[in-house]
Point group: C2
Chain length 292, copies 2
């Protein structure tokens, strides 16, 4: 297992962690500069942040700073209630793929979507099995485009509390079932993003990480589960402030040969988004060294 205690060369910052500090958007170019100034070598930006900064300008800045992308957030949202919705999702996912390629991302992270319309407050039906079918079909279609572009797709199982509105793939086992069905040869084109926040509770976690193996472990995201958790979406904890056994889970992932970044992704409306961005980044570095 790698020693993270003396440097932070394997730290990546998911840029949603410092998206909006003290009520003001922190523009992506400034986030990237602040990361590079601290010796952070990788980030994972969100599409809306890249769009605001400009795709080509962002790509140039990343190259100039020598920053890698541990992933690109995000594709997915494959579920739909009509043919137009299906086509919209396909087109949007192809654009996300193209952007990921332009930015040189390590993978495109997929948040697969929940019951169609639920996130917009207009749930079309209650058939989660049907939604899951749409997700498998959507990933199958996107996988062809991803292979031709050489951009791996990372299915991110989300915590079951997001099953209705954000992602109906909710366990690592379920993600790997899709991987096995669509990429039985374990080509590396399709895998998973393991975010401890979503999977830490799973009694099958160690076994499923073993099942994933090196070829399917495309990203590793960290934060912490706070007790109590006061909001379903934006009350994630900084590593060390919660109950997740981070080092144990990293050990399982690395035992499979994962040697990539440990990406910090903290959505924290009441706490970390109320601090200066630089202070949050410094904290990420400190916790990465002490708690991972």
């Amino acid at each position: 297992m790698r020693d993270f205690s003396t440097d932070h060369r394997w730290l990546s910052i998911n840029t949603a962690t410092v998206r909006r500090q003290l009520g003001v958007d922190w523009p992506l170019p400034q986030i990237l500069d602040a990361c590079a100034a601290r010796g952070i070598r990788a980030v994972s930006p969100w599409r809306d942040q890249v769009a605001a900064a400009g795709l080509d300008a962002t790509a140039r800045q990343l190259r100039a700073l020598g920053l890698e992308l541990s992933g690109y957030c995000r594709g997915g949202m494959f579920t739909y209630s009509d043919g137009a919705g299906r086509q919209t999702a396909r087109d949007d996912n192809r654009r996300a793929l193209d952007e990921a390629c332009t930015l040189g991302a390590g993978c495109l992270v997929l948040v697969v979507g929940g019951l169609p319309g639920a996130l917009e407050g207009r749930t079309a039906h209650r058939d989660i099995a049907a939604a899951r079918e749409q997700v498998s079909e959507g990933i199958a279609a996107l996988l062809d485009d991803a292979r031709s572009r050489g951009m791996p797709l990372a299915i991110e199982p989300l915590h079951p509390m997001y099953a209705a509105d954000r992602a109906c793939i909710n366990t690592l086992a379920q993600s790997l079932d899709v991987c096995d069905a669509l990429d039985p040869s374990r080509s590396g084109a399709l895998g998973v993003a393991v975010d401890v926040y979503h999977v830490w509770w799973d009694p099958q976690l160690e076994a499923q990480i073993r099942r994933a193996g090196r070829e399917r472990l495309l990203a590793f995201h960290v934060c912490d589960w706070l007790v109590p958790t006061t909001d379903l979406l934006n009350d994630r904890g900084m590593m060390g402030d919660g109950v997740i056994d981070l080092r144990r889970i990293r050990g399982w992932v690395e035992a499979q040969g994962y040697a990539g970044y440990s990406e910090v992704e903290v959505f924290s409306a009441a706490h970390w988004w109320q601090r200066a961005g630089g202070e949050v980044l410094d904290t990420c570095i400190d916790r990465h060294r002490r708690c991972l």
Copy 2:
């Protein structure tokens, strides 16, 4: 599958659904009277409500009204950080068993506990596997007492969002693993309480209900998952107001021969606890007929 549309003979009311209405505790004796007056045949009361009303008085009232108990809420909380905590849990669970017997409950529902101390804000450690071991040992010890009293124990897997602080058994599969280990003969002494709120998202749900079979299906709880859900604990929906495919899940349970009550358990601080109790009970009856 039973037809619930024309009567509510298989409706049970978990009394937490009407625990505190419009800011005032609704005393259990009044709740029981209000249920009986509406032709409701079963309830599932909580221990604190029974304690406030008096155990023997409650037993007498239940008999006088002809009310059955679909379950008794609740035993469990098996995890501990020292020997004293272990003994306290054991003693308390034996008392819960005795109370369940006095009340003639169909089963004692077990909410097994999370990381020791987490619910009190003093999490003792992050080793959820160790907590799960304590739970298995605790159930094994209690099972002897339960068998001698003829009172079935129903393990209730809680939604993974409660893994840290309330229950580290989070799927039906995990519950059934414990049942298989401790009661391999499927004697009926140990089984599960299937609450749709906790398990609706599980891609294995149908298969695990089949695995449970009639002997292990001791209770069936209903409410609904709201989109959005604004609180992790007390924002459950009334049946029909959310996204759970209630009829499909009831069909799976009944296909195994389950012929017991459909117990309504809605914790709703902002909505249903802000209505008069009688109105809530009337709504439960209506929704039981239309949505189950």
